[in-house]
Point group: C3
Chain length 178, copies 3
């Protein structure tokens, strides 16, 4: 009898481990394990889309923060926001890009083969020169979520103005399994 | 005798419909049905080209207005040009990109599978934040011409300065049949 | 005896020509024949990489001058630097991109099929409008090194600020043999 109970407990433990490992195979589950929350995906209202897949590449639109409930989401680096705030802003934009990527791969992280190329546009005062340190907020997130597959080619640049005065806009190209 | 005449008229009508439908399969014909004119294609004079095809993707150079005979083609949004003028400027740049795409696919619209990705750079005063509404001038044109195949991923951004002080510069990636 | 010596000299001459032609098949050798020096490749220190290969395309990160030992490497066009200095700056960035490309193709130039697409971001005063003439410094270099394979689609744009106040930042997409 006791042996039977033991085997049943072992079985449940294994099922639990399997469920957790499956959970980590979703972007939502992986973020949860990092104490981060996947924002909700929302479609754009004009004649464009959030992503297009061609061959095994996904091209995303430029994303700003999708939540806009944090002061770091709006404003200009070197005027309104500090470097640390810019780092957080880029990370928050990264979460929104993950919500779009999640939609594109149906939540299945194992389909992501590589974050290929990223263009990071930072709303900058002409005297601000630390765009790479801002963009590290995005890049660190991608490597935390995807490991080496998250390491990307990247351009960081300061722009004169962004839609809605958002602080950071990022677009990316992702290689996925066909 | 009357029956023979009737059949001949029917035949001509069908040929006419066929010709019109073939016309709509060209970018020039489609624009004409929208009361728009395809600008002439012109090659650049420096060591670059207007487009490169690799695999089944066409990458275009950044285009401004190719006509430059309208005041909206030149100037800065938020200083020299209104939002409506910016919308028109982006549409006019779209027409020039279609002239390049027309060259790339030999005028055959049926070869265009998808407008994949667009980067829209708007000549902006630092206080201008409506870049998406400017870029809608381009995006609406693409959907009018190509239908759902015209819906693209898009980044809209404000830049400090553009070549020749043009108001809008746009580059795009297009998937075509091989 | 003399005939044998003659044949040996002929053999050496041919070997020398072969060596030179092989040398020209390397990016380093080709630059050397143009009296240019390939800079050393260096890896970035943050969570990104200098290039990613997907399919037969290499995407590079945005590069500034890797040497930073010339005054043209830093500053704003239309304020700190002249047009000629901007042309030189773009050429110098091109050399750094070639160092990265050299790494990506193991020095074998014959693997480069086409410089596909280039985005040139010029650190610009709002009144500066000659970005294409600056970017010609890059484009001329690519055509000098790769011939017609070096002709690319290109966007040239003026940005508000660049990392470390560098004068020019360039990213490129290159088609290579698989």
């Amino acid at each position: 009898m006791k042996k039977g109970l033991f085997l049943i407990i072992l079985l449940f433990q294994n099922l639990l481990l399997l469920a957790q490992s499956n959970e980590l195979n979703t972007i939502k589950g992986k973020l949860s394990s990092l104490d981060l929350i996947l924002p909700e995906y929302s479609a754009p209202i004009a004649n464009y889309v959030k992503f297009v897949k061609t061959g095994n590449l996904i091209y995303t639109s430029g994303h700003g923060s999708c939540a806009r409930d944090n002061k770091v989401d709006i404003g200009r680096l070197g005027e309104d926001l500090t470097l640390d705030e810019g780092y957080l802003a880029a990370k928050r934009v990264g979460l929104c890009l993950l919500a779009t990527l999640d939609k594109a791969v149906g939540g299945d992280m194992t389909k992501v083969k590589r974050i290929v190329k990223v263009l990071g546009m930072v709303n900058s005062a002409p005297s601000f020169h630390d765009h790479p340190k801002v963009m590290n907020g995005f890049s660190d997130l991608m490597v935390n979520v995807f490991g080496d597959k998250g390491r990307h080619a990247r351009s960081a640049v300061g722009v004169a103005a962004l839609p809605g005065n958002m602080s950071v806009e990022i677009e990316m190209i992702v290689e996925v399994e066909n």
